[in-house]
């Protein structure tokens, strides 16, 4: 066997382990579905009336649920980061990473398994949340190609946030800290993006931040692809951010992983 097939085989083994974990302890999977669903219901049925009326033409003329749902899908991707971070940290603090370090296995496989599982979980959670949004009145109008593009953006962003979450999990001292470190990804950045209201409606200073942070182009590209409003260059910006975050997250995770071996 070549080094490459061995490392692929090790990664698949670790991925299988993570998938088993996910279904044996489904609470985290469920909670990363419930959080965005609660947000969806809250904004559609409680806050959505006045927000939708107030937005008017700023929402590109689409119903508020159609404006909101792509943002909620983005939030679903982000809420998966917590699970990955917690799982990586559990392995680290529980000592099993120490065991793996003394075994003749490809070191990258440990994190690759976590990241791969994070991406697969996100596919599942975003599918469920999209289904709930449809039940709540969301009417996506994507073509087949548009649907694939949506999947592509979700996968790229999930991959990026999974690497970042792995790095956060490796840098946290406790499981609670690993969860806490992902809170900005789960809540702060989604709220300070165009997920709930368009950036133009925000105060100037916040508008600048909102327009230039990665969660906005991800939301804009999903919204454009799913509702037919113009996407502009947001898909490329979203993919570029995803590539940048993935690379930074990967390098940071690698440093943190190797630092543990001192």
């Amino acid at each position: 066997m070549t080094a490459l097939t061995i490392s692929a085989q090790d990664s698949v083994t670790m991925l299988g382990r993570e998938i088993k974990h996910t279904f044996r302890f489904p609470l985290m999977l469920i909670s990363s579905i419930i959080t965005p669903v609660v947000m969806l219901l809250l904004f559609v049925y409680i806050l959505g009336g006045p927000i939708g009326d107030g937005l008017g033409s700023a929402a590109h003329g689409v119903a508020y649920i159609d404006f909101l749902a792509p943002g909620i899908i983005m939030m679903t991707v982000a809420s998966g980061a917590s699970t990955t971070s917690i799982n990586v940290n559990t392995d680290l603090t529980g000592g099993i990473i120490d065991r793996f370090r003394t075994m003749p296995l490809t070191r990258g496989a440990i994190l690759a398994g976590h990241v791969g599982a994070g991406v697969l979980r996100t596919v599942l959670t975003t599918a469920v949340v999209t289904g709930v949004a449809v039940l709540a009145g969301f009417r996506p109008q994507a073509s087949a190609a548009g649907g694939l593009a949506v999947l592509g953006v979700v996968l790229a962003f999930a991959f990026a946030l999974s690497w970042l979450a792995a790095a956060l999990g490796l840098n946290a001292k406790t499981v609670a800290g690993a969860n806490g470190a992902t809170l900005p990804l789960q809540f702060l950045l989604p709220f300070l993006s165009s997920a709930f209201v368009p950036a133009d409606t925000m105060p100037a200073a916040i508008r600048w931040f909102t327009s230039n942070q990665p969660f906005t182009p991800v939301t804009e590209s999903l919204r454009g692809l799913m509702t037919g409003v113009p996407v502009g260059n947001s898909v490329y910006v979203a993919l570029a951010w995803s590539a940048g975050i993935a690379l930074a997250g990967y390098l940071w995770a690698r440093v943190a992983f190797n630092r543990g071996a001192r």
């Binding site: 000592g95 793996f100 370090r101 001192r262």
Partner: protein
Amino acid sequence: MRGLRKAYGEKVVLDGVDLHIGEGEVFALLGPNGAGKTTTVKILSTSIPADGGTAAVLGHDLPAEAAAVRALIGVTGQFSAVDDLLTAEENLTLMGRLLHVPPAERRARVASLLERFDLVEAAKQTPATYSGGMRRRLDIAMTLMGRPRLIFLDEPTTGLDPRSRHIMWQLIRDLVADGVTVLLTTQYLEEADQLADRVAVLDHGRIVAEGTPEELKRRIPGAHIRLRLADAGALDAAALALPEGTRDDEELTLRVPNEGGVRSLRDVLARLGDDVSVDDLSIHTPDLDDVFFALTSTVKEQNR
């Protein structure tokens, strides 16, 4: 290993450790908390690099040939590193997959390890339901999956009840019977005495003594016979017959230095004669506790 050094910032953990461990030997690294035992194990098991000194494991230099070393060793850390969400069987299978054991052999090996470590009934349960002893057994079974030639056991019985400890000792003895080399760390002197062919006492990052348990015990004076006499008169008579003894008038005892063995005991009794009435006699040989306290305290004195 020669002159092994390791420091975390200002804190020196290993301060030039030299050790040679023979193949097929059980070697115990004995020391209090913070002596550097775990750090030594981590360096030799390729987890962390040393700051200085040289080390070779089964003919492979560290850290250059770490990959070759990893294929030959098995490590059981201080805290059980089992996967809590997987059953015993799945944990062992995971190890087999990661060690690239072919499927048929892997299944056979999982079954035989479950059998050997008395985990057959618990095979389909996750470790959440296990006792401390069972977790430890699973942990060591996982370590053996790859048929290692050298096993590191870092405080294998810490936190176990006496029964589990004895079971663990027997398992370790069985490993040795298979010809595996074992490096064991422990803070229990009795454990080193029970299991080890040779012992090194580690204190403040330095080896303060090394040898077989017997050799170490011999280095410490303090073997004696303790006689308890019937009354003050008998004590006087005994003290007269055995002038090298130390008397304790309150307890009516006489403590006579004795290097051990039946001959010297017979000699003491002969000199005592038949007329002195002895209530009780006990023989004290220094155990590793005495050695340990004597050695670790002398180092402290020197450092002062």
